[in-house]
Protein backbone atom coordinates (compact mmCIF):
# COMPACT_ATOMS: atom_id res chain seq x y z
CA UNK A 1 0.00 0.00 0.00
CA UNK A 2 1.37 3.40 -0.88
CA UNK A 3 1.88 5.83 1.98
CA UNK A 4 -0.40 8.44 0.50
CA UNK A 5 -3.26 5.94 0.46
CA UNK A 6 -3.23 5.45 4.20
CA UNK A 7 -5.92 6.92 6.39
CA UNK A 8 -4.78 6.24 9.92
CA UNK A 9 -4.08 2.63 9.08
CA UNK A 10 -7.04 2.06 6.77
CA UNK A 11 -6.91 1.81 3.00
CA UNK A 12 -8.69 4.61 1.18
CA UNK A 13 -12.46 4.61 1.17
CA UNK A 14 -12.42 3.94 -2.57
CA UNK A 15 -10.15 0.94 -2.11
CA UNK A 16 -12.35 -0.44 0.67
CA UNK A 17 -15.38 -0.13 -1.58
CA UNK A 18 -13.51 -1.90 -4.35
CA UNK A 19 -12.80 -4.82 -2.00
CA UNK A 20 -16.56 -5.48 -1.60
CA UNK A 21 -16.22 -6.73 1.97
CA UNK A 22 -18.57 -9.48 3.18
CA UNK A 23 -18.11 -10.40 6.82
CA UNK A 24 -18.67 -14.07 7.63
CA UNK A 25 -18.35 -13.72 11.41
CA UNK A 26 -20.30 -10.83 12.89
CA UNK A 27 -20.92 -11.47 16.58
CA UNK A 28 -23.38 -8.95 18.04
CA UNK A 29 -24.68 -10.33 21.34
CA UNK A 30 -23.28 -13.75 20.44
CA UNK A 31 -24.21 -15.53 23.65
CA UNK A 32 -27.59 -13.88 24.29
CA UNK A 33 -29.70 -11.58 22.12
CA UNK A 34 -31.35 -9.83 25.06
CA UNK A 35 -34.31 -10.96 27.12
CA UNK A 36 -36.81 -9.66 24.56
CA UNK A 37 -34.99 -11.45 21.77
CA UNK A 38 -33.48 -8.45 20.06
CA UNK A 39 -32.51 -5.53 22.31
CA UNK A 40 -28.99 -6.82 22.95
CA UNK A 41 -28.55 -7.57 19.29
CA UNK A 42 -29.79 -4.17 18.23
CA UNK A 43 -27.49 -2.41 20.69
CA UNK A 44 -24.42 -4.33 19.54
CA UNK A 45 -25.25 -3.82 15.87
CA UNK A 46 -25.65 -0.07 16.45
CA UNK A 47 -22.36 -0.10 18.34
CA UNK A 48 -20.67 -1.71 15.36
CA UNK A 49 -22.10 0.59 12.69
CA UNK A 50 -19.38 3.26 12.76
CA UNK A 51 -16.72 0.65 12.02
CA UNK A 52 -18.95 -1.08 9.47
CA UNK A 53 -19.46 2.19 7.64
CA UNK A 54 -15.85 3.27 7.92
CA UNK A 55 -14.69 0.01 6.33
CA UNK A 56 -17.55 0.05 3.81
CA UNK A 57 -18.73 -3.48 4.54
CA UNK A 58 -21.41 -4.66 2.12
CA UNK A 59 -22.78 -7.56 4.17
CA UNK A 60 -22.34 -9.15 7.57
CA UNK A 61 -23.51 -12.56 8.72
CA UNK A 62 -24.55 -13.09 12.34
CA UNK A 63 -25.65 -16.19 14.23
CA UNK A 64 -29.17 -16.23 15.64
CA UNK A 65 -30.43 -18.12 18.68
CA UNK A 66 -33.66 -19.84 17.64
CA UNK A 67 -34.95 -21.40 20.85
CA UNK A 68 -33.26 -24.80 20.82
CA UNK A 69 -31.28 -24.42 24.01
CA UNK A 70 -28.23 -22.48 22.83
CA UNK A 71 -28.58 -19.88 25.61
CA UNK A 72 -28.71 -20.36 29.36
CA UNK A 73 -31.88 -18.25 29.59
CA UNK A 74 -34.93 -20.52 29.84
CA UNK A 75 -37.23 -17.50 29.60
CA UNK A 76 -35.72 -16.43 26.31
CA UNK A 77 -35.84 -19.96 24.92
CA UNK A 78 -39.56 -20.21 25.68
CA UNK A 79 -40.26 -16.74 24.31
CA UNK A 80 -38.66 -17.44 20.96
CA UNK A 81 -40.34 -20.85 20.70
CA UNK A 82 -43.73 -19.17 21.13
CA UNK A 83 -42.90 -16.26 18.90
CA UNK A 84 -40.20 -17.23 16.40
CA UNK A 85 -40.69 -14.02 14.45
CA UNK A 86 -38.53 -12.17 16.97
CA UNK A 87 -35.57 -13.95 15.42
CA UNK A 88 -36.18 -12.03 12.21
CA UNK A 89 -36.20 -8.53 13.67
CA UNK A 90 -32.55 -7.68 12.98
CA UNK A 91 -32.82 -9.03 9.44
CA UNK A 92 -35.90 -6.90 8.88
CA UNK A 93 -34.36 -3.75 10.30
CA UNK A 94 -31.06 -4.08 8.43
CA UNK A 95 -32.27 -6.05 5.46
CA UNK A 96 -29.68 -4.61 3.09
CA UNK A 97 -26.82 -5.26 5.47
CA UNK A 98 -27.38 -8.49 7.39
CA UNK A 99 -27.27 -12.15 6.54
CA UNK A 100 -28.15 -14.81 9.06
CA UNK A 101 -27.28 -18.29 10.15
CA UNK A 102 -28.73 -20.17 13.08
CA UNK A 103 -26.89 -21.48 16.10
CA UNK A 104 -27.46 -25.22 16.31
CA UNK A 105 -27.48 -27.33 19.44
CA UNK A 106 -25.97 -30.74 18.70
CA UNK A 107 -26.85 -31.75 22.26
CA UNK A 108 -30.48 -31.69 21.10
CA UNK A 109 -30.60 -33.35 17.71
CA UNK A 110 -34.41 -33.53 17.23
CA UNK A 111 -34.87 -29.83 17.97
CA UNK A 112 -31.93 -28.97 15.77
CA UNK A 113 -33.37 -30.96 12.86
CA UNK A 114 -36.67 -29.15 13.29
CA UNK A 115 -34.82 -25.83 13.33
CA UNK A 116 -33.02 -26.71 10.12
CA UNK A 117 -36.34 -27.26 8.41
CA UNK A 118 -37.84 -24.11 9.87
CA UNK A 119 -34.95 -21.74 9.20
CA UNK A 120 -32.91 -23.19 6.32
CA UNK A 121 -35.42 -25.12 4.27
CA UNK A 122 -38.11 -22.48 4.66
CA UNK A 123 -35.61 -19.58 4.84
CA UNK A 124 -34.14 -17.08 5.30
CA UNK A 125 -31.07 -18.47 7.06
CA UNK A 126 -28.06 -19.57 5.02
CA UNK A 127 -26.34 -22.04 7.26
CA UNK A 128 -25.48 -22.98 10.81
CA UNK A 129 -23.05 -22.05 13.53
CA UNK A 130 -21.79 -24.64 15.97
CA UNK A 131 -20.63 -22.76 19.09
CA UNK A 132 -17.53 -23.57 21.13
CA UNK A 133 -19.02 -22.76 24.51
CA UNK A 134 -22.36 -22.53 26.25
CA UNK A 135 -25.14 -25.11 26.43
CA UNK A 136 -25.06 -25.70 22.66
CA UNK A 137 -21.40 -26.67 22.54
CA UNK A 138 -20.37 -30.21 21.72
CA UNK A 139 -17.11 -31.44 20.24
CA UNK A 140 -17.70 -31.87 16.54
CA UNK A 141 -16.44 -35.44 16.36
CA UNK A 142 -19.48 -36.54 18.37
CA UNK A 143 -21.88 -38.78 16.43
CA UNK A 144 -24.71 -36.31 17.04
CA UNK A 145 -23.20 -34.18 14.29
CA UNK A 146 -23.79 -36.78 11.61
CA UNK A 147 -27.57 -36.46 11.13
CA UNK A 148 -27.29 -32.71 11.41
CA UNK A 149 -24.59 -32.35 8.77
CA UNK A 150 -26.45 -34.76 6.49
CA UNK A 151 -29.52 -32.55 6.69
CA UNK A 152 -27.52 -29.35 6.25
CA UNK A 153 -25.97 -30.84 3.13
CA UNK A 154 -29.40 -31.71 1.75
CA UNK A 155 -30.48 -28.12 2.33
CA UNK A 156 -27.25 -26.77 0.80
CA UNK A 157 -26.42 -24.84 3.92
CA UNK A 158 -22.93 -23.97 5.06
CA UNK A 159 -21.36 -24.85 8.40
CA UNK A 160 -19.37 -22.47 10.59
CA UNK A 161 -17.67 -24.42 13.36
CA UNK A 162 -16.01 -22.58 16.24
CA UNK A 163 -12.47 -23.92 16.64
CA UNK A 164 -9.45 -23.24 18.83
CA UNK A 165 -6.17 -24.93 19.53
CA UNK A 166 -5.44 -23.65 23.04
CA UNK A 167 -2.04 -24.03 24.61
CA UNK A 168 -2.65 -25.98 27.78
CA UNK A 169 -5.75 -27.69 26.40
CA UNK A 170 -9.42 -27.03 25.98
CA UNK A 171 -11.11 -24.63 28.36
CA UNK A 172 -14.48 -26.32 27.98
CA UNK A 173 -15.60 -29.86 27.23
CA UNK A 174 -17.63 -28.79 24.20
CA UNK A 175 -14.81 -27.05 22.37
CA UNK A 176 -13.56 -28.30 19.02
CA UNK A 177 -10.13 -28.11 17.43
CA UNK A 178 -9.37 -27.81 13.72
CA UNK A 179 -8.14 -31.41 13.82
CA UNK A 180 -11.53 -32.52 15.07
CA UNK A 181 -13.24 -30.49 12.37
CA UNK A 182 -11.01 -32.16 9.79
CA UNK A 183 -12.18 -35.53 11.12
CA UNK A 184 -15.83 -34.50 10.75
CA UNK A 185 -15.27 -32.96 7.32
CA UNK A 186 -13.65 -36.14 6.02
CA UNK A 187 -16.99 -37.91 6.50
CA UNK A 188 -18.87 -35.33 4.41
CA UNK A 189 -16.58 -34.48 1.49
CA UNK A 190 -19.30 -32.64 -0.45
CA UNK A 191 -20.18 -30.34 2.46
CA UNK A 192 -18.37 -27.02 2.94
CA UNK A 193 -17.14 -26.21 6.45
CA UNK A 194 -15.78 -22.97 7.81
CA UNK A 195 -13.08 -23.36 10.44
CA UNK A 196 -13.77 -20.32 12.62
CA UNK A 197 -10.69 -18.45 13.89
CA UNK A 198 -8.37 -20.71 11.89
CA UNK A 199 -7.96 -22.50 15.19
CA UNK A 200 -6.78 -19.36 17.02
CA UNK A 201 -3.26 -20.74 17.24
CA UNK A 202 -3.14 -20.60 13.50
CA UNK A 203 0.19 -22.23 12.81
CA UNK A 204 -1.30 -25.51 14.04
CA UNK A 205 -4.78 -24.67 12.77
CA UNK A 206 -3.71 -24.18 9.18
CA UNK A 207 -1.71 -27.39 9.22
CA UNK A 208 -4.63 -29.33 10.67
CA UNK A 209 -7.02 -28.49 7.83
CA UNK A 210 -4.53 -28.23 4.98
CA UNK A 211 -5.45 -31.61 3.52
CA UNK A 212 -9.21 -31.08 3.89
CA UNK A 213 -10.25 -29.29 0.70
CA UNK A 214 -13.82 -28.84 1.92
CA UNK A 215 -12.65 -26.74 4.89
CA UNK A 216 -12.21 -22.98 4.61
CA UNK A 217 -10.56 -20.98 7.37
CA UNK A 218 -12.13 -17.86 8.86
CA UNK A 219 -9.76 -15.12 9.96
CA UNK A 220 -11.12 -13.52 13.16
CA UNK A 221 -10.93 -14.12 16.88
CA UNK A 222 -7.23 -13.92 17.70
CA UNK A 223 -4.76 -11.06 18.01
CA UNK A 224 -3.49 -9.33 14.89
CA UNK A 225 -0.40 -11.53 14.84
CA UNK A 226 1.77 -10.72 11.86
CA UNK A 227 2.37 -13.42 9.30
CA UNK A 228 -0.92 -15.27 9.67
CA UNK A 229 -2.40 -14.52 6.30
CA UNK A 230 0.84 -14.99 4.43
CA UNK A 231 1.10 -18.52 5.84
CA UNK A 232 -2.57 -19.25 5.22
CA UNK A 233 -2.37 -18.18 1.58
CA UNK A 234 0.86 -20.11 1.10
CA UNK A 235 -0.48 -23.32 2.62
CA UNK A 236 -4.16 -23.27 1.69
CA UNK A 237 -4.45 -20.86 -1.23
CA UNK A 238 -6.46 -17.65 -1.04
CA UNK A 239 -9.55 -19.50 -2.28
CA UNK A 240 -9.93 -21.27 1.08
CA UNK A 241 -9.87 -18.20 3.32
CA UNK A 242 -12.81 -15.99 4.33
CA UNK A 243 -12.79 -12.77 6.29
CA UNK A 244 -14.57 -12.37 9.62
CA UNK A 245 -14.76 -9.23 11.75
CA UNK A 246 -15.86 -10.54 15.15
CA UNK A 247 -17.35 -7.08 15.71
CA UNK A 248 -18.11 -5.58 18.13
CA UNK A 249 -16.16 -7.60 20.72
CA UNK A 250 -13.03 -7.51 18.60
CA UNK A 251 -11.88 -4.35 16.90
CA UNK A 252 -12.06 -3.59 13.21
CA UNK A 253 -8.37 -2.75 13.43
CA UNK A 254 -7.44 -6.18 14.71
CA UNK A 255 -9.45 -8.08 12.16
CA UNK A 256 -9.37 -6.00 8.98
CA UNK A 257 -5.66 -5.21 9.21
CA UNK A 258 -4.88 -8.93 9.05
CA UNK A 259 -6.15 -8.84 5.48
CA UNK A 260 -5.48 -5.32 4.22
CA UNK A 261 -1.81 -5.27 5.26
CA UNK A 262 -0.72 -8.80 4.39
CA UNK A 263 1.96 -9.31 1.76
CA UNK A 264 -0.39 -10.93 -0.74
CA UNK A 265 -1.79 -9.83 -4.08
CA UNK A 266 -4.76 -7.50 -4.22
CA UNK A 267 -6.54 -10.17 -6.22
CA UNK A 268 -6.17 -12.60 -3.31
CA UNK A 269 -7.23 -9.88 -0.89
CA UNK A 270 -10.50 -9.44 -2.76
CA UNK A 271 -11.14 -13.16 -2.68
CA UNK A 272 -10.60 -13.29 1.07
CA UNK A 273 -12.56 -10.15 1.88
CA UNK A 274 -15.67 -11.15 -0.02
CA UNK A 275 -15.47 -13.19 -3.20
CA UNK A 276 -14.94 -16.54 -1.52
CA UNK A 277 -17.77 -16.03 0.90
CA UNK A 278 -20.14 -14.88 -1.81
CA UNK A 279 -19.45 -18.09 -3.69
CA UNK A 280 -20.26 -20.13 -0.60
CA UNK A 281 -23.39 -18.13 0.10
CA UNK A 282 -24.53 -18.43 -3.48
CA UNK A 283 -24.80 -22.18 -3.05
CA UNK A 284 -26.83 -21.65 0.10
CA UNK A 285 -29.09 -19.07 -1.52
Amino acid sequence: MKPDAMHLGLPSSEKLKEYRIWDSYFTPSLSHPGADGSSGLFADIERSLPAIRKARFEKLCYFAHVGIGTTTDAGYEQRVQKNPDIVLKPLERWQDLLLGMIQLNPNNVPASLDALNQWLRDGPMLGVYFPGSGPGALTCTHRNFHPLVERIAQLKGIVMQHTWFKTGGKQGAGESTPLELAELASKFPEQKFLCAHAGGEWENGIRAVRDSPNIFVETSGFDSTAGFLEMAVRELGAERIVFGSHLPTRSLGTELAKITTAAISDEDRKKILGENYRKLIKVAM
Binding site: D4, H7, L8, G9, R47, K54, G200, T225, S251, T261
Partner: protein, 305 residues
Protein backbone atom coordinates in the same frame (compact mmCIF):
# COMPACT_ATOMS: atom_id res chain seq x y z
CA UNK B 1 20.61 10.53 17.42
CA UNK B 2 18.35 12.66 15.36
CA UNK B 3 14.69 11.78 15.56
CA UNK B 4 12.71 13.63 12.98
CA UNK B 5 9.20 14.75 13.20
CA UNK B 6 6.56 14.31 10.65
CA UNK B 7 3.26 15.92 10.98
CA UNK B 8 -0.07 14.67 9.90
CA UNK B 9 -2.67 17.15 9.01
CA UNK B 10 -5.99 15.99 10.21
CA UNK B 11 -9.10 17.20 8.56
CA UNK B 12 -12.53 16.27 9.71
CA UNK B 13 -14.81 15.14 6.94
CA UNK B 14 -18.26 13.62 7.31
CA UNK B 15 -17.43 11.93 10.53
CA UNK B 16 -14.42 10.07 9.22
CA UNK B 17 -10.91 11.19 10.05
CA UNK B 18 -8.76 11.56 7.00
CA UNK B 19 -5.07 12.09 7.17
CA UNK B 20 -2.61 13.40 4.69
CA UNK B 21 1.04 12.77 5.22
CA UNK B 22 2.86 16.05 5.70
CA UNK B 23 6.38 16.59 4.46
CA UNK B 24 7.46 19.36 6.79
CA UNK B 25 10.10 18.03 9.11
CA UNK B 26 11.07 19.90 12.19
CA UNK B 27 14.41 20.56 13.72
CA UNK B 28 16.65 17.66 14.48
CA UNK B 29 16.70 16.45 18.06
CA UNK B 30 19.43 14.78 20.06
CA UNK B 31 17.16 12.66 22.21
CA UNK B 32 13.58 11.96 22.96
CA UNK B 33 13.59 14.43 25.82
CA UNK B 34 14.05 17.17 23.28
CA UNK B 35 10.45 16.53 22.37
CA UNK B 36 9.73 19.06 25.08
CA UNK B 37 11.07 21.87 22.93
CA UNK B 38 7.65 22.89 21.79
CA UNK B 39 8.97 24.48 18.62
CA UNK B 40 6.97 22.02 16.58
CA UNK B 41 4.10 21.76 18.96
CA UNK B 42 1.01 21.04 16.95
CA UNK B 43 -2.15 23.05 17.31
CA UNK B 44 -3.21 26.61 16.54
CA UNK B 45 -5.49 26.66 13.56
CA UNK B 46 -5.41 23.46 11.60
CA UNK B 47 -5.31 20.28 13.64
CA UNK B 48 -1.96 18.64 13.21
CA UNK B 49 -0.79 15.31 14.50
CA UNK B 50 2.38 13.39 14.71
CA UNK B 51 2.51 9.80 15.89
CA UNK B 52 4.68 8.31 18.60
CA UNK B 53 4.54 4.52 18.81
CA UNK B 54 5.47 3.64 22.38
CA UNK B 55 5.70 -0.11 21.82
CA UNK B 56 8.01 -1.38 19.10
CA UNK B 57 10.73 -4.03 19.24
CA UNK B 58 13.77 -4.92 17.19
CA UNK B 59 15.39 -8.23 16.34
CA UNK B 60 13.85 -11.65 16.18
CA UNK B 61 10.80 -12.95 17.98
CA UNK B 62 11.98 -16.29 19.36
CA UNK B 63 9.11 -18.41 18.07
CA UNK B 64 8.33 -17.20 14.55
CA UNK B 65 9.81 -15.13 11.73
CA UNK B 66 7.85 -11.92 11.51
CA UNK B 67 7.29 -10.04 8.22
CA UNK B 68 8.71 -6.82 9.70
CA UNK B 69 11.53 -8.43 11.65
CA UNK B 70 14.25 -6.78 9.61
CA UNK B 71 15.01 -3.24 10.63
CA UNK B 72 14.66 -1.76 7.14
CA UNK B 73 11.23 -3.33 6.67
CA UNK B 74 10.10 -2.08 10.04
CA UNK B 75 11.37 1.44 9.42
CA UNK B 76 9.69 1.51 6.05
CA UNK B 77 6.39 0.53 7.67
CA UNK B 78 6.78 3.18 10.36
CA UNK B 79 7.35 5.81 7.69
CA UNK B 80 4.36 4.56 5.73
CA UNK B 81 2.19 5.02 8.79
CA UNK B 82 3.69 8.44 9.57
CA UNK B 83 5.09 7.24 12.86
CA UNK B 84 7.76 9.82 13.58
CA UNK B 85 9.14 8.24 16.69
CA UNK B 86 9.11 4.66 17.96
CA UNK B 87 10.10 3.65 21.49
CA UNK B 88 12.03 0.57 20.60
CA UNK B 89 12.87 -2.37 22.82
CA UNK B 90 14.61 -5.61 21.95
CA UNK B 91 13.08 -9.07 21.68
CA UNK B 92 16.50 -10.31 22.77
CA UNK B 93 15.67 -8.92 26.18
CA UNK B 94 13.14 -11.68 26.79
CA UNK B 95 15.54 -14.58 27.08
CA UNK B 96 19.11 -13.33 26.94
CA UNK B 97 20.94 -12.96 30.24
CA UNK B 98 23.74 -10.84 28.86
CA UNK B 99 21.53 -7.78 29.14
CA UNK B 100 24.39 -5.35 28.63
CA UNK B 101 25.05 -7.00 25.27
CA UNK B 102 21.36 -6.85 24.39
CA UNK B 103 21.23 -3.15 25.12
CA UNK B 104 24.46 -2.41 23.33
CA UNK B 105 23.20 -4.04 20.14
CA UNK B 106 19.93 -2.15 20.47
CA UNK B 107 21.67 1.18 20.98
CA UNK B 108 23.93 0.56 18.01
CA UNK B 109 21.00 -0.41 15.79
CA UNK B 110 19.08 2.70 16.74
CA UNK B 111 22.03 5.07 16.46
CA UNK B 112 21.82 5.47 12.71
CA UNK B 113 18.01 5.32 12.59
CA UNK B 114 17.01 8.31 14.55
CA UNK B 115 13.27 7.67 14.60
CA UNK B 116 13.99 4.57 16.71
CA UNK B 117 14.35 5.59 20.34
CA UNK B 118 16.17 2.79 22.20
CA UNK B 119 14.46 1.49 25.31
CA UNK B 120 16.79 -0.78 27.24
CA UNK B 121 15.81 -4.15 28.65
CA UNK B 122 16.36 -4.69 32.36
CA UNK B 123 16.06 -7.76 34.55
CA UNK B 124 16.18 -6.84 38.24
CA UNK B 125 16.66 -10.40 39.41
CA UNK B 126 19.97 -10.79 37.57
CA UNK B 127 23.13 -10.21 39.61
CA UNK B 128 24.43 -6.65 39.29
CA UNK B 129 21.47 -5.35 37.34
CA UNK B 130 22.43 -1.90 38.60
CA UNK B 131 25.36 -1.93 36.22
CA UNK B 132 22.98 -2.62 33.33
CA UNK B 133 20.90 0.31 34.47
CA UNK B 134 23.93 2.56 34.76
CA UNK B 135 25.04 1.69 31.24
CA UNK B 136 21.55 2.46 29.92
CA UNK B 137 21.72 5.90 31.48
CA UNK B 138 25.34 6.88 31.12
CA UNK B 139 26.55 5.11 28.00
CA UNK B 140 23.41 4.86 25.91
CA UNK B 141 21.59 7.91 27.29
CA UNK B 142 18.33 6.03 27.25
CA UNK B 143 15.21 7.72 28.55
CA UNK B 144 13.30 4.59 29.44
CA UNK B 145 13.69 0.89 30.11
CA UNK B 146 11.41 -2.07 29.50
CA UNK B 147 10.75 -4.99 31.85
CA UNK B 148 9.45 -8.48 31.07
CA UNK B 149 8.53 -9.79 34.54
CA UNK B 150 6.67 -12.86 33.32
CA UNK B 151 9.56 -13.98 31.11
CA UNK B 152 12.12 -13.18 33.81
CA UNK B 153 10.26 -14.87 36.62
CA UNK B 154 9.27 -12.28 39.23
CA UNK B 155 6.12 -10.53 40.30
CA UNK B 156 5.53 -6.84 40.94
CA UNK B 157 5.37 -7.70 44.66
CA UNK B 158 9.01 -8.66 44.57
CA UNK B 159 11.22 -6.40 46.67
CA UNK B 160 13.80 -6.41 43.88
CA UNK B 161 11.26 -4.81 41.57
CA UNK B 162 10.64 -2.11 44.18
CA UNK B 163 14.37 -1.49 44.47
CA UNK B 164 14.69 -1.33 40.71
CA UNK B 165 11.82 1.11 40.39
CA UNK B 166 13.39 3.38 42.99
CA UNK B 167 16.70 3.35 41.13
CA UNK B 168 15.19 3.87 37.70
CA UNK B 169 13.11 6.76 38.96
CA UNK B 170 16.08 8.38 40.64
CA UNK B 171 17.93 8.05 37.35
CA UNK B 172 15.15 9.90 35.58
CA UNK B 173 13.98 6.92 33.53
CA UNK B 174 10.46 5.92 32.72
CA UNK B 175 9.66 2.23 32.98
CA UNK B 176 7.62 0.12 30.58
CA UNK B 177 6.26 -3.15 31.90
CA UNK B 178 5.25 -5.72 29.30
CA UNK B 179 2.19 -7.30 30.88
CA UNK B 180 2.20 -9.88 28.11
CA UNK B 181 3.94 -10.48 24.83
CA UNK B 182 1.49 -13.00 23.41
CA UNK B 183 -1.99 -14.35 24.13
CA UNK B 184 -1.43 -17.15 26.66
CA UNK B 185 -3.67 -19.40 24.57
CA UNK B 186 -1.30 -19.32 21.61
CA UNK B 187 2.06 -19.55 23.36
CA UNK B 188 4.57 -22.24 22.53
CA UNK B 189 3.64 -25.29 24.63
CA UNK B 190 7.18 -25.53 25.99
CA UNK B 191 7.26 -21.89 27.00
CA UNK B 192 4.08 -20.81 28.73
CA UNK B 193 4.06 -17.63 30.78
CA UNK B 194 1.09 -16.08 32.52
CA UNK B 195 0.27 -12.40 32.11
CA UNK B 196 1.86 -10.12 34.70
CA UNK B 197 -0.50 -9.12 37.50
CA UNK B 198 -0.33 -5.31 37.66
CA UNK B 199 -2.40 -4.98 40.82
CA UNK B 200 0.59 -4.57 43.22
CA UNK B 201 1.17 -1.21 41.53
CA UNK B 202 -1.95 0.11 43.25
CA UNK B 203 -0.08 0.04 46.57
CA UNK B 204 3.44 0.51 45.33
CA UNK B 205 3.33 3.37 42.87
CA UNK B 206 2.01 6.07 45.24
CA UNK B 207 5.02 5.35 47.50
CA UNK B 208 7.51 6.30 44.79
CA UNK B 209 7.05 9.96 43.86
CA UNK B 210 7.89 10.82 40.26
CA UNK B 211 7.86 7.19 39.12
CA UNK B 212 6.54 6.83 35.59
CA UNK B 213 5.26 3.45 34.47
CA UNK B 214 3.57 2.45 31.24
CA UNK B 215 1.90 -0.95 30.97
CA UNK B 216 2.34 -2.54 27.54
CA UNK B 217 0.11 -5.12 25.92
CA UNK B 218 -2.32 -5.01 28.81
CA UNK B 219 -5.84 -6.30 28.25
CA UNK B 220 -7.56 -4.85 31.31
CA UNK B 221 -9.98 -6.68 33.50
CA UNK B 222 -12.71 -4.30 34.61
CA UNK B 223 -12.28 -4.50 38.37
CA UNK B 224 -8.50 -4.26 38.33
CA UNK B 225 -8.60 -1.41 35.84
CA UNK B 226 -10.93 0.51 38.10
CA UNK B 227 -8.18 0.59 40.72
CA UNK B 228 -5.23 1.05 38.36
CA UNK B 229 -6.87 3.83 36.42
CA UNK B 230 -6.80 6.20 39.38
CA UNK B 231 -3.06 5.99 39.98
CA UNK B 232 -1.03 9.00 39.02
CA UNK B 233 2.10 8.10 37.10
CA UNK B 234 0.61 5.00 35.49
CA UNK B 235 -0.08 4.89 31.75
CA UNK B 236 -1.31 2.34 29.25
CA UNK B 237 -0.80 1.46 25.63
CA UNK B 238 -3.48 0.16 23.29
CA UNK B 239 -1.72 -2.73 21.54
CA UNK B 240 -4.06 -5.40 22.94
CA UNK B 241 -7.14 -3.34 23.75
CA UNK B 242 -10.09 -5.03 22.09
CA UNK B 243 -13.66 -4.15 21.12
CA UNK B 244 -14.65 -1.68 18.46
CA UNK B 245 -14.96 1.06 21.09
CA UNK B 246 -12.28 -0.29 23.42
CA UNK B 247 -9.86 2.61 23.12
CA UNK B 248 -12.32 5.47 23.77
CA UNK B 249 -13.77 3.49 26.67
CA UNK B 250 -10.29 3.05 28.13
CA UNK B 251 -9.63 6.76 27.79
CA UNK B 252 -12.88 7.48 29.57
CA UNK B 253 -11.97 5.23 32.50
CA UNK B 254 -8.38 6.39 32.97
CA UNK B 255 -6.79 9.56 34.25
CA UNK B 256 -6.39 12.25 31.63
CA UNK B 257 -3.32 11.81 29.50
CA UNK B 258 -2.58 8.23 30.45
CA UNK B 259 -3.48 6.33 27.26
CA UNK B 260 -0.84 6.25 24.53
CA UNK B 261 -0.53 4.73 21.12
CA UNK B 262 1.51 1.53 21.14
CA UNK B 263 1.35 -1.14 18.46
CA UNK B 264 3.55 -4.02 19.66
CA UNK B 265 5.02 -4.14 16.16
CA UNK B 266 6.40 -6.18 14.60
CA UNK B 267 4.76 -9.03 16.56
CA UNK B 268 1.35 -7.46 15.96
CA UNK B 269 0.34 -5.66 12.79
CA UNK B 270 0.85 -1.94 13.53
CA UNK B 271 -2.13 -0.79 11.48
CA UNK B 272 -4.39 -2.74 13.83
CA UNK B 273 -3.74 -0.41 16.75
CA UNK B 274 -3.89 2.66 14.55
CA UNK B 275 -7.31 1.82 13.16
CA UNK B 276 -8.52 0.94 16.65
CA UNK B 277 -7.98 4.50 17.83
CA UNK B 278 -10.57 5.97 15.51
CA UNK B 279 -12.80 3.19 14.20
CA UNK B 280 -15.73 3.81 16.55
CA UNK B 281 -15.83 7.49 15.58
CA UNK B 282 -15.82 8.36 19.30
CA UNK B 283 -12.40 9.99 19.26
CA UNK B 284 -12.51 13.69 18.46
CA UNK B 285 -9.50 15.56 17.13
CA UNK B 286 -8.21 16.42 20.58
CA UNK B 287 -8.43 12.84 21.80
CA UNK B 288 -6.74 11.54 18.66
CA UNK B 289 -3.94 14.02 19.07
CA UNK B 290 -3.49 13.09 22.71
CA UNK B 291 -3.41 9.33 22.13
CA UNK B 292 -1.23 9.40 19.06
CA UNK B 293 1.29 11.94 20.25
CA UNK B 294 0.56 14.34 23.08
CA UNK B 295 0.32 11.91 25.98
CA UNK B 296 3.55 10.14 25.08
CA UNK B 297 5.23 13.48 24.56
CA UNK B 298 4.25 14.63 28.04
CA UNK B 299 5.06 11.26 29.61
CA UNK B 300 8.56 11.28 28.13
CA UNK B 301 9.39 14.83 29.07
CA UNK B 302 7.85 14.83 32.53
CA UNK B 303 11.19 14.28 34.17
CA UNK B 304 12.58 17.37 32.51
CA UNK B 305 9.77 19.74 33.21
Amino acid sequence: MIPRRKFLHLTASTGAASVIAGKNLCAEEPAIRRLSDGECDPGHGSVELQIIDTNVSLFHWPFRRLPLAEIDALRSKLRELNIASAWTGSFEGLLHRDIAGVNQRLAEACRSHTELIPIGSLNPILPDWKNDLRICVEAHRMTGVRLYPNYHGYSLNDTRFREFLDSATQSGLFVQIAISLEDTRTQHPSFQVADVDPEPLVELLPKIPNARIQLLNYRPKALVLERLAKISGLSFDIARIEGTDGVPLLVKKCLAGSVMFGSHAPFLIPEAALIRVHEASLTDDAMLKAILWGNAHRFARRNNS
